[in-house]
């Protein structure tokens, strides 16, 4: 056997062992701008206030409400069990870990829709899959859940069923229909940041 052949075999096997043993870098989940635009046009990210209320009442364990308003606004009023992540801090690593988890529905809300939408776009671009926006925000929450408008007597039975649900939800949240939004002083919930488990590289057998 020629020396050259043996040398090339050794080099090839050396490279083979090297690529086997090299740790794989995790592929970035970042969404491409084109796909982000498609996702923005698609309105499946929106949850209605009724859906959110239903999930809170049903104690849906997959629901994680995220309040993206200022801390003052958060302390003044926030939805039950909502955690506080101000929009300015949304790219903070500890919050990103919290939001990028696939095990929960992360629902952003603000006073209207805009700030929650911004938070959604930022996190979606970074690859979070399970993020949603409460459509209309707290303004819509007050209009629909806190002060539900009574449908006209000619309305469909679905509209009445929805009204009944809202009245019940309203009782659940504050024990009766109010004419003005409540101004409860709630202590901000402490955010428990779960560190992502560092998975060892899955190379080799």
């Amino acid at each position: 056997m020629q020396k050259g052949t043996i040398f090339l075999t050794i080099v090839a096997m050396g490279v083979a062992f090297l690529v086997w043993l090299l740790p794989e870098r995790p592929e970035k989940k970042e969404l491409s701008p084109q796909n982000l635009l498609l996702a923005i046009k698609d309105n499946t990210r929106f949850l209605s206030t009724d859906e959110v209320a239903g999930m809170i009442i049903g104690q849906d364990p997959s629901l994680q409400l995220i309040d993206v308003r200022d801390s003052l606004e958060y302390v003044k009023f926030h939805l039950p069990n909502a955690i506080h992540v101000p929009l300015a801090d949304i790219l903070d690593e500890q919050y990103l870990d919290l939001i990028s988890g696939d095990d929960q529905k992360h629902v952003f809300y603000s006073n209207g829709t805009i700030r929650a939408n911004q938070a959604w776009v930022l996190t979606r671009r970074l690859g979070s899959q399970n993020t949603y926006v409460m459509k209309g925000g707290l303004n819509r929450w007050v209009e629909t859940i806190m002060v539900p408008p009574k449908p006209p007597s000619s309305a469909s039975s679905e509209a009445f069923a929805q009204y009944d649900f809202r009245v019940a939800a309203c009782r659940f949240f504050q024990g009766g229909i109010q004419t003005a939004p409540p101004e409860k002083t709630n202590k901000p919930l402490k955010i428990i940041v779960r560190k992502k488990k560092k998975t060892s590289p899955s190379g080799g057998c």
């Binding site: 096997m13 490279v15 690529v19 086997w20 090299l22 794989e24 870098r25 592929e27 057998c205």
Partner: protein, 196 residues
């Protein structure tokens, strides 16, 4: 850093320039490896010449190891490389047609151009047939449209399908390549090259 075009480091208008340079390199390598001779090419099917296997296994193993190393050094982002989607039915039927054309004509599309460029008449006929076939396919495409576009599996990768890690699969690939480099000369010795 890379891949350069998807990352916007160089513009997509460079596509054709890069394709031209790569094409020149590819054609040169094919010719240098003796791929412009259909006798060498079909030797793979009859067992007297395994140059095709050697060249393509070397290319595949080098590219696979190179991409993994480049990814590790941060020179290229594997996640951004375009992976051609897999269409099961179309791939199998297309592969059979391609194989049949390869063994009867003695060229694959790339090598037919290499051989045509050095003036081989059979290759010129082959290239003509490629154009006629492409034209006919284009004209009758609506008939095959549903079949061609069915069973899209997306950009699946063989190591994911096998449940292996990328590195281990490449290791096996190189191991098999090296093993073959030692094994095929034994076959070549036994099979006598027919006298054309």
């Amino acid at each position: 850093m890379g891949p350069l075009i998807p990352q916007g480091i160089i513009g997509p208008e460079w596509d054709f320039i890069i394709a031209l340079l790569l094409g020149i390199g590819f054609g040169y390598t094919l010719e240098a490896a003796g791929f412009s001779s259909s006798k060498n090419l079909v030797g793979l099917f009859y067992g007297y010449d395994f140059v095709v296997l050697r060249v393509f296994f070397t290319a595949g193993a080098t590219a696979a190891a190179g991409i993994i190393l480049f990814d590790y050094f941060g020179w290229i982002d594997i996640g951004r490389l375009y992976v051609q989607p897999t269409y099961w039915g179309a791939a199998i039927v297309g592969g059979l047609i391609m194989g049949l054309g390869f063994v009867t004509g003695g060229f694959c599309p790339g090598t037919s151009f290499t051989a045509a460029s050095i003036g081989k008449i059979d290759a010129l006929v082959f290239v003509g047939g490629t154009f006629v076939g492409s034209f006919l396919y284009g004209e009758t495409y609506p008939l095959f449209k549903n079949f061609v576009n069915s069973g899209n599996e997306g950009g699946i990768k063989v190591y994911d399908s096998l449940g292996m890690s990328r590195g281990f699969f490449t290791f096996l690939l190189i191991l098999i390549a090296v093993g073959m480099f030692y094994a095929v000369p034994l076959i070549e010795k036994r099979v006598k090259k027919p006298d054309y």
